[in-house]
Symmetry: C2
Subunit: 195 residues, 2 copies
Amino acid sequence: MHLLEEKIKKEGRVLSDTVIKVDSFLNHQIDPQLMKEIGEGFAERFQQAGITKILTLESSGIAPAQMTGLSLGVPAIFARKRKSLTLNDHLYSAEVYSFTKQQTHEISVSKDYLTAEDTVLILDDFLANGQAALGLVDIVEQAGAALAGVGIVIEKGFQDGRKRLLDKGIRVESLAILSSLENGEVRFAEEEASV
Amino acid sequence: MHLLEEKIKKEGRVLSDTVIKVDSFLNHQIDPQLMKEIGEGFAERFQQAGITKILTLESSGIAPAQMTGLSLGVPAIFARKRKSLTLNDHLYSAEVYSFTKQQTHEISVSKDYLTAEDTVLILDDFLANGQAALGLVDIVEQAGAALAGVGIVIEKGFQDGRKRLLDKGIRVESLAILSSLENGEVRFAEEEASV
């Protein structure tokens, strides 16, 4: 996704060695045309996987998940974040620890929309340490559904999220992989490899 | 939007005389193809309005807002909900009272993405008493932007949200208008008119 990397280079604001803000097209303002191409990018990678549902987490995952669902012709589900555990038999739920916010929140999905018949593609805007993705994997497992893989818009390649997912045998496809944000500079995995 | 009304009839679950759940295609699971047609529906209505930005509220507004932005070729911004007021000079913020949750939350938009040069279409999934829409209107006013109108996927025609917006001289376009949810039955405004 050359277009995505260009957008990250041009509009991403590096706040520290580990944090980049992409509020102008992904997390707060959405560029629908770019998001459509992102959806097509994931659809291409997972075309043969027999996906029946896209699963993501509110809010920033919704835009890419919806466009991927549109391309693959399947529904997109967004897990809800909840502040406290509420007893509800009709929900799959998992706990997700956020290193950024230093707090644990519960995420949940209605049992109506995910079953053992489904083949799920998990999508998220960022992959850092993999906590959110692993929470979604937990929910897919609870549903007894098949997991086709995890699709990520921007992977922080210098954190261990990918390793944690690969260790569980999960396929990971990222459209852009950041190799470093050091010195306020965005570097992509491919670039480094070619130097 | 005949398709939307059919979907509401078929999949909406009436929980009370004022509450309908449409989790299967709008608020939790998203039907991307329907959402695309919803986006086209709004785009058609506001084609001549010179829209430069779509503004919505996380999370359920994101899917229709993105598709409308795609159809009109403009970015979609989703206001963030925040639990507490945080001092931040670079945000427009407004308070929104939720009758359902009986609590007030702050919504905010970065000043980077909304300016006096913009012509804004506000979008939301539901219109009931208009609190969320009015909060978004407040933000558009703070930005000094022009407001083209408010687009609503499902309007509860038996509540006063529309009146509150019209009283402020705001154009309101709803794709489906519920006239009643009494006796567990979904009735649309058009139906009633034709009886």
